[in-house]
């Protein structure tokens, strides 16, 4: 009996998700035993034409990581959708837009300007690549760089979501096995526990029931105590607003959770909910004091929407959709956020 065929593909991503598969260590051998990987650009030499040659639905599953920012990524997503029985959005970028999603705070034009002209490390006259160029030998094309970052399910129909940046090895293995054994839950499910991180955080007992935050700290500003709840120490830990399933690796490294496992099932907008929860814990009753404390959270959009801006309710910063609408101009960096490559 032939093994089920699977594909791995990467879109606007960092490569960490591919490494996460490798991080399965010896378990990857079981995976490789059980499935036939017919497409994995980072590791294997199959071509797009090989995928195109498959019958529709011939792939058991396509694991696609990374967000969608170019026309090529969108085309590949659509191709794999046609060829796969199940599409799994693999990792935070595919599910929520991920860190690349923060590019939605800038317009396409301002990004290109920065990269090709303004950045300190750019050499040249600010030449922009063309999308099409006809040379005597033929025409070459580059993918179109989209107006903004989209999540995978804003481009194709997605069956399952595997959260994390990257997804923890345990969840990956679990997902693959579930797929192979036909044990996957209902379509649309996120393949991780539907409960927030505090449930598996080793410091949960030290978190007081009536926590009131009198000051917010950035991680470099204090040496966090190793045993105490990080939020209770004034660090902006998004654990309460983030799914469990990662084993609280960041917290165990004495760093606050940044929200990569995405929100739980009843939350529509992770950044808004996390902000609501953390703001509610501000100690003061005085309006000015409250404003001062809130302002201690530097770059709140980058903090609360670190992985989820394209999936959020507003999707992008107003005025960056290139249509020239809205009051915000491309040239102005969002207040509080660093300009691309500028001093942070």
């Amino acid at each position: 009996m032939s093994k089920p065929k699977v594909a791995f593909y990467w879109c606007a991503s960092c490569g960490g998700c591919e490494e996460a598969v490798v991080d399965l260590n010896e378990v990857v051998l079981d995976v490789v035993e059980a499935v036939d990987i017919v497409f994995w650009p980072v590791a294997m030499d199959f071509k797009v034409s090989d995928v195109a040659a498959l019958a529709d639905g011939e792939l058991a599953a396509a694991f696609i990581n990374g967000a969608i920012r170019t026309s090529e990524q969108a085309e590949m997503a659509e191709l794999l959708r046609r060829k796969a029985g199940a599409v799994v959005a693999f990792g935070a970028c595919a599910w929520l837009g991920g860190i690349p999603g923060l590019a939605n705070l800038y317009s396409r034009e301002s990004l290109l300007e920065f990269v090709y002209r303004e950045s300190p490390s750019t050499v040249g006259d600010g030449v922009r690549p063309l999308e099409e160029f006809t040379a005597p030998e033929g025409t070459v094309r580059l993918p179109h760089f989209d107006e903004d970052v989209r999540t995978l399910d804003q481009v194709i129909d997605v069956d399952y979501y595997l959260p994390g940046c990257p997804p923890p090895p345990g969840l990956i293995a679990g997902a693959v096995m579930a797929l192979l054994e036909g044990r996957l839950p209902e379509k649309g499910s996120v393949l991780a526990p539907d409960v927030a991180l505090c449930s598996e955080c080793p410091r949960a007992d030290s978190k007081p029931e009536d926590l009131k935050i009198e000051r917010f700290y950035r991680p470099y500003e204090i040496v966090a105590d190793q045993e105490t709840c990080l939020l209770a120490q004034g660090l902006v830990c998004l654990g309460p607003a983030t799914r469990a399933g990662c084993g609280a690796v960041c917290v165990n490294a004495n760093m606050p959770c940044t929200g990569c496992m995405g929100p739980t099932g009843r939350v529509v907008d992770q950044g808004a909910k996390a902000a609501s929860a953390i703001a509610s814990l501000i100690a003061s009753h005085d309006e000015d004091e409250i404003a001062t404390l809130a302002a201690q959270i530097v770059d709140p959009v980058g903090t609360f929407y670190r992985y989820s801006l394209p999936a959020s309710l507003l999707h992008r910063r107003v005025g960056t959709d290139g249509s020239g609408n809205g009051k915000s101009t491309d040239a102005t960096a969002p207040a509080g956020a660093s300009t691309p490559g500028g001093a942070s």
Partner: protein, 672 residues
């Protein structure tokens, strides 16, 4: 999967929501501005709407019958009524929905009267807004969950806070009905302001004669626990089940032993009074040990630790202790506390008179013979500082007296309201002063307000007695004579508007008819009982016409001047009304609980504890073992703060779930 888009629901098969939309004309109140037909037609195009009707008065019996019939016929299983404010008729239509056989919570209201027809100038705009609000209600009600109305038991005891005539009357009515009542009074005696008066208008009844029997009844009533010199320091719980903490301040006398013989006062080391007697409005002096007035109830003396030598120096022969045959003194007494459970609370905390010093133009505190009405009441009272004689500071009788109405009232610089009782009591004072002293009396008024039973007749009588009436707001009182006749007198300057000229009237005594103001601690009190105050500072009733004795906090009722200026007949009537409403609640034995409580989905709770400390009612408990939070839905008052804060969406609020509100948001924007 993130569900951003709430896609339009396809027409529901049998068992799904079938919504009936009922648009009210409210006579012309809505129909005069909003195009009802357009709204009905529009409603019928909305998803899940099975029936859309309109009617002239939805709240009437036939209107409600429309709803009930559609429900009984199975045409609809959820109801939207577009009419007035839910604060007006949500209960009415929920009942109708229940009568029709459905859960009363499968109902939503769209306010197209208070929020649309009454406030929108243009008819087209109004119709558009009405449609938007109807759409919001329709989208929302489709998601309402099945909820059963729930009850909680009511504690049988009742507390009345304030022992003036309002509190006394309410307490007696409820105690006579067999209920156990705690009557808490801050002063050392009950009686309130009424106990300070000499006679009451319009009948000129002796205030003490009509009040003291009631005070005595309170003291001896088997069902009343009278706590004087006590105040409420904390209230917890909710309707039907309040826990009230009461502090008893030390009199340094054992209440149960003192017989009120007053020997101790006689034998006090102070031969005469040296300290300001608050009861007599500072017109006389008392000793450190005192009783406010002879008929004080309970008839127990009080020791003032600020004045008593024993407390100040520790060196006193304490002749008072020797004088007491009952050995009732206890100088070691400290504050004690009681915590009681009651089902309802009546607030009858009364009023304060306007501080006349705030109007220096009238000379109070500047000229010795300018008095407030309350001070004159004490002069007139036989148990007062002058034994009932109206005399000036030097002991002589006034020959001419001026009474200035509206002091502090009807005044843009002080209080805008009319204090309701001052015209009548000024006429009464005019009569009594004239009777006692034979003086010429001038009343300076703006309008003469005498609306009650027998009040106009009383005014007529006073006019016939030859009291002079000058219609004009008094500009000022001065002692600077402008002519020889004015030497040695106080001069009242006012425009007599009926003759059109300014007059200067020399008088010996000026009486300021000070208005009724809220107690200075009204804000603290109302926060403690979780009710609100209006802009002026009086406690807010639930509805000015239809619910004048209840408040927005179920179980807390109002009686008397704390709710607004009023005279004794109205006060007693209101106190009786409050007692009746309390009895209705307590006799019924249960209250309906808030339907919109919060609850936490056990499997979704991560134990993050964000909610626990946010609940002001301590309704959320955290289970240390299971690491889950849960809401006590009996204590929960349904504010939803925990729900908005819950970072994982595990906490939701019945009737205000996230999904319902998202649907409402969508509906209010999607169509119009």
């Amino acid at each position: 999967m993130l569900e951003h888009e709430l896609t339009p629901r396809p027409p529901a098969p049998n068992g799904g929501p079938r919504i009936g939309v009922y648009v009210c004309h409210c006579g012309l109140n809505i129909a005069g501005k909003v195009d009802i037909e357009q709204v009905v037609t529009f409603a019928s195009t909305l998803p899940d709407v099975a029936v859309a009707r309109d009617y002239k008065f939805m709240c009437s019996d036939p209107g409600q019958e429309l709803i009930e019939q559609d429900l009984r016929d199975g045409l609809v299983n959820r109801v939207v009524v577009a009419s007035c404010s839910p604060l007006m008729h949500e209960a009415t239509f929920r009942r109708a929905t229940q009568e029709g056989g459905q859960s009363p919570f499968y109902f939503q209201m769209a306010s197209i009267r208070e929020h649309v027809s009454w406030v929108t100038a243009d008819g087209e705009d109004a119709t558009g807004k009405a449609k938007a609000l109807v759409a919001a209600a329709v989208r929302r009600v489709a998601l309402h969950e099945y909820l059963e109305p729930r009850k909680a038991e009511v504690q049988p005891d009742i507390m009345v806070v304030g022992g003036g005539i309002a509190g006394i009357h309410a307490a007696l009515v409820m105690a006579d009905a067999g209920k156990h009542v705690y009557l808490v009074e801050r002063e050392s005696t009950i009686g309130g302001h009424m106990a300070k008066f000499d006679k009451t208008f319009p009948t000129l009844d002796c205030a003490a004669c009509i009040l003291t029997p009631k005070m005595s009844q309170v003291r001896s009533h088997p069902n009343i626990t009278l706590w004087t010199y006590s105040d409420v320091v904390g209230v917890e719980g909710f309707t039907g089940d309040f826990t009230v903490r009461v502090r008893h301040r030390p009199r340094y006398v054992k209440e149960e032993l003192c017989t009120g013989c007053l020997e101790c006062i006689e034998k006090c080391i102070h031969k005469q009074g040296k300290f300001e007697d608050e009861w007599n409005e500072g017109l006389s002096k008392r000793k450190p040990i005192y009783i406010p007035f002879p008929q004080a109830t309970p008839p127990v003396v009080v020791v003032d630790p600020e004045a008593c030598i024993w407390f100040k120096t520790g060196k006193c022969p304490q002749t008072c202790i020797d004088a007491c045959e009952r050995d009732a003194f206890d100088f070691e007494q400290t504050e004690t506390f009681d915590e009681v459970k009651v089902g309802a609370i009546v607030l009858a905390t009364g009023f304060k008179t306007f501080q006349a010093e705030r109007m220096p133009e009238y000379g109070y505190g500047l000229y010795p013979n300018v008095y407030t009405s309350l001070e004159v009441e004490r002069l007139l009272n036989a148990a007062g500082p002058t034994g009932g004689e109206v005399v000036l500071r030097d002991g002589s009788e006034p020959k001419v007296v001026g009474i200035i109405h509206c002091v502090g009232s009807r005044d843009a610089k002080h209080n805008l309201w009319c204090s309701k009782v001052c015209c009548m009591y000024s006429l009464k004072l005019a009569h009594m002063v004239k009777e006692r002293t034979g003086a010429e009396v001038y009343n300076f008024y703006i309008d003469m307000r005498t609306p009650g039973k027998g009040y106009e007749e009383f005014y007529d009588k006073i006019l016939r007695e030859g009291v002079h009436m000058v219609r004009g707001r008094v500009a000022g009182v001065t002692d600077e004579a402008a002519s020889p006749e004015e030497e040695g007198h106080l001069v009242i300057r006012a425009e007599d508007t009926l003759i059109g000229s300014v007059r200067r009237i020399p008088v010996d005594m000026v009486i300021l008819a000070v208005g009724i103001t809220p107690q200075p601690d009204a804000q603290d009190v109302r926060r403690m009982f979780n009710i609100s105050c209006g802009g002026e500072g009086f406690f807010t009733e639930r509805h000015p016409k239809l619910a004048p004795v209840s408040t927005f906090t179920d179980g807390v009722f109002l009686a008397g001047a704390c709710q607004g200026p009023k005279d004794i007949p109205d006060t007693v009537a209101q106190a009786g009304a409050a007692a009746a409403e309390v009895l209705a609640m307590v006799d019924r034995g249960f209250v309906m609980l808030e339907a919109n409580t919060a609850h936490i989905e056990d499997e979704l709770c991560s134990g993050c504890k964000t909610c626990v400390g946010l609940c002001p009612f301590s309704a959320i408990a955290f289970d240390e073992e299971r690491k889950r939070a849960s809401v006590n839905e009996v204590v929960c008052k349904g504010c939803g703060v925990c729900v908005a804060a819950c970072p994982s969406g595990a906490a939701q609020q019945h009737l205000f779930t996230d999904e319902e509100i998202f649907a409402e948001i969508e509906g209010v924007l999607a169509y119009v």
